[in-house]
Amino acid sequence: MSGPGVAALAACVLALAPLVSAAPHMVIVAGLGGEPVYASAFVEQAQATANAVEHVAAGVTLLVGEDAGRDRMRDALAAYRESPREDPVVVVLIGHGSYDGEHYRFNVPGPDPTADELADWLAPLPSEHQLVVLATSASGAAIDVLKDEGRAVIAATKDGHEANAVVFGRFWAAALTEPRADIDKDGRIDADEAFRFVEQAVARHYEDAQRIATEHPRSEGDIVRFELAAIAGEGLDATPGSAATRRDELLTEIDALRKAKGRHAEEEYFATLQELLLELSAVESELDER
């Protein structure tokens, strides 16, 4: 995507071919900035997020500027009412949020949607894998309202009382293109990796600035399963053949071994791991040579 100016921004729907069968449908919204510095930052972060996810997502709806209103958000989500239930739906809200002691609201042009409304819009969707990312102030207040079976939530703040503007969005956008965020080096960044990257970056931001942290990110639900972005350099190719099959088997065995780590003597564990990894290395080389 190119980077249009704020005034020229319109709702923009990217219909991208999915890379994997369970590619997520993404709705990304940049809310009202209030001040120019925030307005442009929110748009940039939303665009960066859209750019980062476009190779993984089944589709990206980016709402910015005047088009980022309550009704457009509702309609964007309603578009997924016919999607298969295995297709993840991911909503990312970037901007200012508020909490009046009862309701969380996301600040957009026109009426501000509440967390309850957002939950109402998500509830009818068949998707069994929903993720809401709230990169806004006071967003912790929305967690209890939004979390549900099959729906995970990431919020920039621990509760509704952390009301200052957040830096979460800046680091969220960065995490999706940052190789260091890819903890398991599989070439993909899932929501858990992104969240942990942002969590640490936010904490360091306040430490470096020697300011008391006014935001403490939180996550609820199983966020690991949401694959959000692909990065260059690493990753598994879906190459068919016996070597690829053996690679998958080895990864399964390694995963099982890791889960059983506590039941092995340490040296035995590492010796077994080493043998599996050496074979994996050989298989990878074989695959690379093809």
């Binding site: 890819d182 903890i183 398991d184 080096k185 690493e234 990894l277 050496l278």
Partner: protein
Amino acid sequence: MPGRSRLALLLASLATAAWGQSLEQCRAFELTAGDDALSCYRQLLVAGESAVRAEAAWALDDFPAANAAFRAAVQANPERADLRARWGQLYLEAQSAAEALNLFREALQLDPNDIDAKLGMARVALGGFDAKAEELANEVLAAAPGRHEARLILARLALEADDPDRAQRELEGPLASADPRIRLQAFALRAAMDHLADQVPSPWEDRARALHPGYGALHETIAHFYIITRRYREAIAQLERAVEADPRLWSAHATLGMNLLRVNRFADGYGVLARAHDAFPYNREVVNALRLLDDVMAWPENVGDGLILRIDPAESGALAGYVRDLTADALDAFAERYDYRPEPPVVVELYRRHEDFAVRTSGLPGIGILGATFGHVVVMDGPSARGIDEGFDWASALWHEIAHVVTLGATDNRVARWFSEGISVLEEWQTGPSRFQVDGAPAGRHAVPPDVIDAFRDGMLLPVAGLDEGFIRPRYAGQVGVSYTQAGLVCEYVAETHGLDGLVRLLAAFADGRHTASAIETALAVSPEALDRAFTTYLEERFANIDTVAFRVAVAEARDAVESRDWQTAFDAAERAVASYRHYVGGLSPYTVLAESAERLGRRDRAVEALTTYWQAGGRLTEPLTRLAEWREAAGNLDEALQVRRALALVAPLSGGHRVVLGDRLLAAGAAAEARREYVAYQALEPHDRADAHYRLARALFALDELEAARREVLLALEIAPTYSDALRLLTDVTRRSRAGSSER
């Protein structure tokens, strides 16, 4: 003031009717029969008068009751200044100087002539090493010449200023006082004089004991002077005698505990402080210290190579390597220069919070210094307490403190404060990690702050024989900082004119117990006055081409121009500032502005040159150094860039980014051992990408042929990220080399 002497200040206004006599009786019992005194005070707890109950509760160490009774007394008699003054004294005894000062001030507002309130303020100043103590004591004497307490304050001040003759004169009156409590305090100060002069045992101790066998404050007073002259072992011995003579002397218990900590006797110190707190829970120093110790004593000690490190576990992994290397390098450098190597172990403690450091060193938060050395124990702020971009170069500060370990050890703690500081400052300039080494300039000739040059030209520098006063009781804002630099310059002058051997001879003279004047005469064969004159001439020449006025004007203009993004004006003004005062890299340094404006004007060569000078002159702000490293790397000057990156990581050791980049550059340059230190630190900083951190460390270990450790690290990387292709290749290489090694064997 010593706790037991408080009754010497009993208010005349309280000495009325039956309970007034009773207070006097109790007071008299204290000198002879302590138990009778306690019984006496207990009877007064039911006195009708709040002020009397307050005094009785105070004497029985019940501070809350005393405090409540004083409050009631003041509420009942709001016009009575004397009650507030007495109440203030209670707070002073509980180490609550701020509250005490407020009460003394309130008393003086009610009665500007209240001598006890003024004495109280003088005591607060005395305890805080504030030069106002002398002024206040003299005001008391002007108004009430018979108040020997003021003479005692002046005598103590004189002794703290290493002027025993003046102290002796001040004590003449108190020694002849009819009040035995005044005489006791005078005896204690005379005994302290003897101890400072190594004339022990002192006959004054016998006289004090004859007058009051349980006068523990005698030894507490002597200990005070050992403490301020950094002779902690002797202080501890005296404090142990103090609490033996008077087990209820809680201030001595507290001081004993704090000084046991200073000599690294943590368990003993904790025990003493805990017992003191159990019996007397109102001393804030003790409460703070115990709270801190609960944390610090749980830290794992990092022991080895003659060094004990005590660092918060959260930062130990990132800092320990640097602390060990810096300390070892410093001890080697100083052993060569001063022919002295301290007996191991040297202890280094780093604190993450300045307030914790302050509690560790003084028991109370709020002190201004950033590091302290107690013999072989170095205690200082760590880099997270105050960062390099706030002007705190922790590595240079550690170098400074290790120099103290040497000068204190070489003289058995008898070195004058100014000389110890001077050597430490000089070593920062000449041998430290941020030393001055500008191409084409005399090595080690650090450009001192403009304020010091102005102070010199304004005649504000102290004669060398009195330079200690600039540290202990500064008389103008900034004098402590000026005194540090002056001390460094004096040492620089001595080294340039007498050689390093001149400094070594001075150390030897101090080790012989000589005071500054005598040490200078012995070591340098000149009088202190002659040294002052020659030093003045030296500074006139050293500062001859420096125009601090033009420098400040140009710096201000350059900074204003940067604000308005007028880069040509900023560049020109920064060039003028540099011409007015070359190589200055402190707070108003023009080099960073010069580099920024040169770069904006497309003059990269000048920008690199400016930042190179900045770096070589000891400038250590992270942003300019990062740019310099990047520019040098972009130009292919990898060796030079690596030197800058070393400096950068050292001053910002908790920045994972700086550490890992340095590790990569070192490994590429073949310095695998150094790279390993950086990667160990990076891993300890718990980066988000832990697989990468393990992998990088594994690479360094592989380069060092530490195959088993490399295997473990790469397996840890792959355990997190099994498809991490670089790590898989490294595992293959490690395995291959290990098996080849096994088959060869």
